[in-house]
């Protein structure tokens, strides 16, 4: 269907045609025509955020929890620059976003006009692709292309920068059709010979491990189902990155827990000692590998990834399979079945026995207390009291995030929204709002820290306006806990600026927004307080006063190998663990 309309109308029409029902945004001079076009329709609901960074994170939460493309609309200049952190976050975690930015009229571009910024220049490095639309004739094609690029292949954020005169111009709108992009053609199906080779290697392995990541989640729920099937068929142990939690259920018997810097002892040791590593949709990030020259030294490595540049970037692998995780897992399961592969049972038994010894170390254990709430205990109780419900978890960034990853257990994909690659404090609340809007009837909880939550606290207004009953569960230890922990590790415990000074009264803050505030500092009263939060029909700020000095362990200190973890019951002084080389790292 081709039809004459203005650029602004095309934007709204394209959003509708792309199935967008929720658009996060903030108006301003350079997007007024688009806001006017939104005014005349009801199909796309506009969610007014209180800061453009919030729009981007809300769109991320929406996208990650629903599998759809998240969409935001911001004005030129400060609107666009405020969105940059969210775009970068989405790039690093491969979240599909389309961000429409207003721009000054084309004849003013380059003149330092009011609220002008070089948006495509600024966002070139933090988007998968971006466009400056100079002609109305290109607008509808570019809009559809933007959605295609955002969601296909390795997903990511795409910016479409539209000057105001293009929004007013009139042109012919064309509806989306099956796009065959002339240059961008991600490889979805892998070479079958390589998958065959992988399956043969898997059948021969004596100490295999599956190391999975966010790519499995991005490949859609079917990929998770296939992953579970593969684990069932092979009996392999499985671990996952922070971004991949939920692809394999935490209750599954082959689950070793998360791996990496704050991963489990069994997962990290199994990675270190394995003879075959099958990496599915993960990218050998430094939080995962630890010291690279001591990374899984006796293993063959298979890497499945849709992005060829992820392969051999940090770690050289023996077999590279480029393709979508879902397609490759499908081929693997089929080949394993049809070729009736079996495994070396005896070797596997010995391997599992070794793993169970590591497991018995109970690396996520912590000292219980009857007088103060341990942060781990708080997450544990939160999990126990919500696990039977339709629950989605978002987090901010820091100690609370790692405790959430360790002690909240995920059975399904798309239930866990966290800022992994960029580590953006302030992600959790807007992401929770986005998640709640995608799942209006679900229980959405932002597990937060008292420092992170203040970074986008203005989004409480958004939650109120759009009646999002999100629960903000703050593990309040009055410190930027992870910063404090690293100051203990590296800087002699000198807590330079890591104390959360001048905190608001979070209960009164909630009340100021007309929301419910709950405070709890007594472990004996925690369950009742959590139930009160869950049962509240509105948004809640739960100020959970936890042990102020607890550190997040176990931990692979920077510059160390997988088998050199600090365990929670270690009696060593953590200030002496990291050597000078390790101190240089982040």
């Amino acid at each position: 269907m081709s039809k004459m309309m203005t650029g602004a109308e095309m934007v709204v029409q394209a959003l509708q045609d792309q199935g967008v029902t929720t658009l996060f945004g903030y108006p301003g001079g350079a997007v007024l025509p688009i806001y006017d076009a939104l005014f005349h329709q009801t199909q796309v609901q506009h969610v007014l955020v209180r800061h453009e960074q919030g729009a981007a994170h809300a769109a991320e939460g929406y996208a990650r929890s629903s599998g759809k493309v998240g969409c935001l609309l911001v004005t030129s200049g400060p609107g666009a620059t405020n969105a940059v952190t969210g775009l970068t976050d989405a790039l690093l975690d491969s979240i599909p976003l389309v961000c429409i930015t207003g721009q000054v009229p084309t004849h003013l571009i380059g003149s330092d006009a009011f609220q002008e910024a070089d948006t495509v220049g600024i966002t070139r490095h933090c988007t998968k692709h971006n466009y400056l639309v100079r002609n109305i004739e290109d607008l509808s094609r570019i809009l559809h292309e933007a959605f295609y690029i955002a969601r296909s292949g390795r997903p990511g954020p795409v910016v479409v920068d539209i000057p105001k005169d293009v929004q007013f111009a009139t042109g012919l709108y064309s509806a989306p059709k099956n796009i065959q992009h002339k240059t961008y053609q991600p490889q979805l199906k892998a070479e079958i010979a390589k998958v065959k080779q992988a399956v043969a290697m898997m059948a021969k392995a004596k100490k295999p491990i599956l190391y999975t990541g966010g790519g499995v989640i991005n490949a859609g729920p079917l990929a998770s189902t296939l992953l579970r099937e593969l684990v069932k068929l092979t009996g392999f142990p499985i671990t996952s990155t922070l971004m991949g939690l939920g692809a394999y259920p935490a209750s599954g018997k082959n689950w070793l827990g998360m791996l990496g810097m704050h991963g489990s002892y069994e997962a990290n040791n199994a990675m270190h000692d394995c003879d075959l590593m099958i990496c599915v949709g993960a990218r050998f990030d430094d939080r995962i590998t630890g010291r690279l020259d001591a990374f899984a030294p006796h293993s063959k490595k298979i890497h499945i990834d849709i992005d060829p540049s992820s392969i051999n970037k940090n770690v050289q692998v023996d077999l590279a399979i480029v393709g979508d995780c879902g397609h490759v897992l499908d081929d693997m399961v089929r080949l394993w079945r049809s070729e009736a592969h079996s495994v070396d049972k005896k070797a596997h038994e010995a391997w599992w026995e070794q793993i169970n010894q590591w497991r018995a170390r109970k690396s996520f254990a912590y000292k219980k207390s009857e007088t103060t709430i341990k942060p781990q205990y708080a997450v544990e109780r939160l999990y126990e009291l919500t696990k039977k419900r339709n629950t989605y978890i978002t987090t901010e960034v820091g100690q609370h995030q790692m405790w959430a990853a360790q002690h909240f257990h995920f059975e399904e994909p798309n239930r866990w929204m966290t800022s992994g690659g960029l580590g953006t404090m302030g992600y959790g609340l807007p992401a929770a709002i986005g998640t709640q809007l995608a799942h209006p009837d679900a229980l959405v909880i932002d597990i937060a820290g008292e420092a992170s939550i203040l970074m986008n606290i203005q989004e409480l207004s958004t939650a109120v306006q759009f009646r999002c009953p999100v629960k903000i569960f703050i593990l309040n230890n009055e410190y930027m806990g992870m910063v404090r922990q690293w100051q203990e590790l590296l800087h002699g415990g000198r807590y330079s600026s890591s104390y959360s000074e001048a905190l608001p009264d979070f209960v009164k803050l909630a009340e100021a927004y007309g929301l419910k505030g709950i405070r709890c500092s007594d472990p004996a009263k925690l369950d009742d307080a959590i139930m009160e939060m869950i049962d509240s029909p509105q948004a809640v700020i739960f100020d959970c006063l936890v042990d102020k000095t607890e550190n997040c362990l176990p931990m692979i200190p920077s510059g160390k190998a997988h088998n050199e973890m600090i365990l929670p019951d270690a009696d060593e002084d953590i200030g002496s663990v990291i050597d000078d080389k390790g101190k240089m790292l982040v």
Partner: protein, 186 residues
């Protein structure tokens, strides 16, 4: 920041593979859509990820299709160069990345203009050497020449070095253009 700096090679997070490999020079031929910003994307990738650019040439090569070819000479460990190719392939308006050094048998040429100042015997010597290098005189005054020279980068380096004691003023070079031998396209 340079990916090949000693500090990076010593980092425990740096690839164990990268540490042992020696640096190589490769010529990459990159066919792109000739649209605004495409060169910035390519150059930004190199600066953002700490890759080296030794030379870079760009010009439209197919007007009807609006395609340009960017030829980049880069140095790095083989693994880094493989990574550069893959990172380039991620850029949406890039059609194709060909590592001509890996492929082998490519012809590489560069054009240089070399300004030399001198009188008397120096002037004669410059002329004699230019003939040996098949350089053309494209401008002359009573006390200077501009030579135009085409060839592989090494030949131009050699010529420039010979001109230095004679009276080299300055040099302008195009950077490398390259193409594969034989009937097949790149």
């Amino acid at each position: 920041m340079n990916a090949q700096s000693p500090a990076a090679a010593l980092s425990p997070y740096s690839s164990s593979n990268g540490k042992k490999s020696v640096s190589e020079t490769h010529t990459l031929s990159v066919l792109v859509d000739n649209e605004p910003g495409v060169l910035a994307r390519v150059v930004g990738l190199f600066s953002g990820r700490g890759y080296n650019i030794e030379s870079l040439t760009v010009a439209e090569v197919a007007h009807a299709q609006a395609q340009s070819r960017i030829t980049i000479v880069t140095t790095g460990a083989p693994a880094t160069i493989e990574q550069i190719s893959h990172q380039l392939e991620r850029i949406v308006p890039i059609h194709r990345v060909t590592d001509l050094t890996l492929l082998g048998g490519a012809v590489e040429r560069e054009l240089a203009m070399v300004k030399v100042k001198g009188k008397g015997e120096n002037r004669m010597e410059a002329m004699r050497l230019s003939e040996a290098f098949r350089a053309r005189v494209i401008d002359a005054s009573l006390e200077s020449f501009i030579f135009e020279l085409t060839g592989a980068p090494k030949k131009i380096d050699d010529f420039v070095e010979l001109m230095r004691p004679i009276g080299l003023v300055e040099v302008s070079r195009t950077g490398v253009a390259a193409i594969t031998r034989g009937p097949a396209a790149m």
